[in-house]
C-alpha cells in the first residue's frame, strides 16, 4: 500500500491550528523526537518568545520491563511549568500510551494550569482515553504499520512508513 502524506503541507495546517488554539502565555513542549522537531519549528514560525520545551516518555513508559531504556533522549524544560498553559506537540497520535507517560513526566516538574495536545497525524487505534485538541490529519492504518516523522538536513519534514516485518 502506498501512503501519500505530505508532511510539509500537514505542518502548515498544524501551524495554523496551533496558532488558533494557543492560549495567551502558553508554552510549547514537543515530545521527543518528532514532536520536538515540530515544536522547535513552530516556536520560530509563530514568533514565540524564549525556547520550546522537550519532553521524553522514557522514565514513565508502561513497557519498560520489555523495552528497557531506549536512548539518550531526555526531558528539558527551560521554564517553570507551575500555573502555565502547556501545548504538547507530537508527530503521530496512536495508542495514547506515550501521552499518558509524558503527562506523568510533566507533573514531576510541577502543576500546569492546563495541558492540550496538537498532533500532525491522528492514526486512530487508541487504547487510552486520550484525544488531541488539534490534528492536521486523521487517517487509519493497519495495526502493525509504523508511521514516523523524518527531518532532512534542510529541516524539511517527511513521513516514513514501515511495513510489519
Amino acid at each position: 500500500m502506498t501512503l501519500t502524506l505530505d508532511a510539509e503541507a500537514l505542518y502548515a495546517d498544524l501551524r495554523a491550528g496551533v496558532r488558533s488554539l494557543l492560549p495567551k502565555d502558553a508554552v510549547l513542549v514537543g515530545i521527543w523526537s518528532g514532536g520536538a522537531w515540530l515544536a522547535e519549528r513552530l516556536q520560530r514560525d509563530l514568533g514565540l518568545p524564549g525556547s520550546h520545551g522537550v519532553i521524553s516518555s522514557t522514565l514513565h513508559r508502561d513497557d519498560f520491563s520489555s523495552r528497557g531504556l531506549a536512548g539518550s533522549d531526555a526531558t528539558s524544560l527551560p521554564f517553570g511549568i507551575d500555573g502555565r498553559h502547556i501545548v504538547l506537540v507530537d508527530d503521530v497520535l496512536y495508542t495514547g500510551r506515550t501521552i499518558r507517560a509524558v503527562v506523568n513526566e510533566l507533573f514531576d516538574f510541577g502543576r500546569p494550569a492546563s495541558v492540550t495536545l496538537a498532533v500532525l497525524v491522528d492514526r486512530g487505534g487508541r487504547e487510552l482515553p486520550v484525544a488531541a485538541a488539534y490534528a492536521a490529519a486523521r487517517i487509519s492504518l493497519p495495526a502493525g504499520q509504523k508511521l514516523t516523522l523524518a527531518r532532512a538536513d534542510d529541516g524539511r519534514f517527511s513521513f516514513a512508513v514501515k511495513e510489519p516485518a
Binding site: 522514565l59 520489555s66 531504556l69 539518550s72 531526555a74 506523568n104 507533573f107 514531576d108
Partner: protein, 320 residues
C-alpha cells in the same frame, strides 16, 4: 540461559547483570554513562523519583561492611521507586552456617528481583548470577580484590563530566593498587574507553608487576607518575594492611606517595583529583588537596547515585 562468553550479557549483547567492567564493549559503558546523565537531572525536579522499578524488590546483600556504598545503592533504588531490603548478612544466616546459595534461594523465594552484592570473596556475585532465576538481576558492589564495577563507572562519569573526551588523557592511579578492586575496574574501563596513557603509581610491594601487560605504565616514582597528568585517582591506603610486611609505615608511604600541593603542581594545571573514599587525610591525600579546587571527590559521590540508577534500570529493562 547465561551466555558462555560473558555471563553479564544476553544473546542480544544487552547487559543483564553487572559483575565486572572487564569484557564489556565500549557501547555498553557509554550507554550507561549517557543514561546516568539523564538521571542526574532528576535531582532538579519537584518529584525526585521515577517509576521505572516500581513494584520491584532490590535486596542489598552486604557480606562485607560498607555503609557508603550500601547507602548510595539504597538511594538509587529508591529514586527508581523500588522497594529496598537491606540485609546485614554478617550478623544473620551465614553466621549460623547457611551457605551462600541457600541464602540466595531463600531470598529468591521472597520474590527478589535484584541482588546488590558485596562479598570479600572474588567471584561471589558470579556464583549468584549463575544460580538465580532468569528474571533476577545481580549487581556486583565489590568482590574481594576482583572488581568494583559501579565505582569504575562513576569514576568514568566523573572524568567525562570534567574532561569531556577520553582519547587524549593521561590518568594516574596512585597508591595500594595490588589490593584495589577499584583500580582494576578503573583500568579496564579507561582502556575500553580509549584513554591512551594509564599510569599505576606506588611502591613495588603495592603495584603488581603484570600491569604492564594490560598496557599500563608502572611508575614507582611519584613525580614521574603524576607529571603532566589530567586525572589523578588516589586510592585509600587500607589501614588494616599497614602493619604487614608490604609497607614500612604509613608515614613513610605518605612521604613518598601522599598527594600534597607540591606534588599536585607537577600535574596539568587543570588536573582533577579523585578518590573513591573514605579518605585518610594526611596519609594518601593532604587535607588542602582533598578540599582544594582540583578535588572532585564530592561530585563523585553525587554522580555515583545517578550511575547506580543507570546500572539498575538498564539491567532491569533487559531480559535474560
Amino acid at each position: 540461559m547465561l551466555s558462555r562468553r560473558n555471563p553479564q550479557l544476553n544473546a542480544h549483547g544487552e547487559l543483564i547483570h553487572l559483575l565486572s567492567i572487564e569484557g564489556l564493549p565500549r557501547a555498553v559503558l557509554t550507554q550507561i554513562l549517557d543514561t546516568a546523565g539523564t538521571f542526574l537531572s532528576v535531582n532538579d525536579r519537584d518529584v525526585k523519583k521515577v517509576p521505572l522499578l516500581r513494584g520491584k524488590s532490590v535486596f542489598n546483600l552486604f557480606f562485607e561492611n560498607s555503609t557508603r556504598t550500601r547507602t548510595t545503592f539504597e538511594i538509587a533504588a529508591k529514586r527508581l521507586s523500588a522497594d529496598v531490603i537491606n540485609l546485614d548478612i554478617n550478623k544473620s544466616s551465614t553466621a549460623k552456617g547457611e551457605s551462600l546459595l541457600d541464602t540466595i534461594a531463600n531470598l529468591s523465594a521472597m520474590h527478589a528481583d535484584m541482588f546488590v552484592v558485596r562479598h570479600s570473596e572474588s567471584g561471589a556475585p558470579y556464583l549468584i548470577a549463575q544460580h538465580c532465576a532468569p528474571h533476577v538481576h545481580v549487581v556486583n558492589a565489590g568482590d574481594g580484590r576482583h572488581a568494583h564495577p559501579t565505582q569504575g563507572l562513576l569514576d568514568m562519569y566523573t572524568i567525562r563530566h570534567f574532561k569531556k573526551d577520553f582519547t587524549g588523557l593521561t590518568v594516574a592511579i596512585v597508591g595500594d593498587i595490588v589490593h584495589s578492586r577499584v583500580a582494576r575496574s578503573d583500568i579496564h574501563a579507561l582502556t575500553t574507553l580509549g584513554v591512551p596513557e594509564i599510569r599505576a603509581v606506588g611502591p613495588k610491594t603495592l603495584v603488581p608487576g603484570d600491569l604492564a601487560q594490560m598496557g599500563v605504565r608502572v611508575c614507582h616514582d611519584m613525580a614521574e607518575g603524576i607529571r603532566g597528568a589530567d586525572v589523578i585517582i588516589m586510592l585509600r591506603l587500607q589501614n588494616e594492611r599497614m602493619s604487614g610486611a608490604m609497607l614500612p609505615s604509613a608515614g613513610e608511604f605518605s612521604k613518598s606517595y601522599g598527594l600534597t600541593p607540591e606534588k599536585l603542581a607537577l600535574a596539568k594545571p587543570d588536573a582533577i583529583v579523585m578518590h573513591p573514599g573514605p579518605i585518610n587525610r594526611g596519609v594518601e591525600i593532604a587535607s588542602s588537596v582533598a578540599d582544594g579546587s582540583h578535588s572532585v571527590i564530592l561530585p563523585q559521590v553525587t554522580f555515583g547515585i545517578a550511575v547506580r540508577m543507570a546500572v539498575m534500570s538498564t539491567i532491569a529493562g533487559n531480559q535474560a
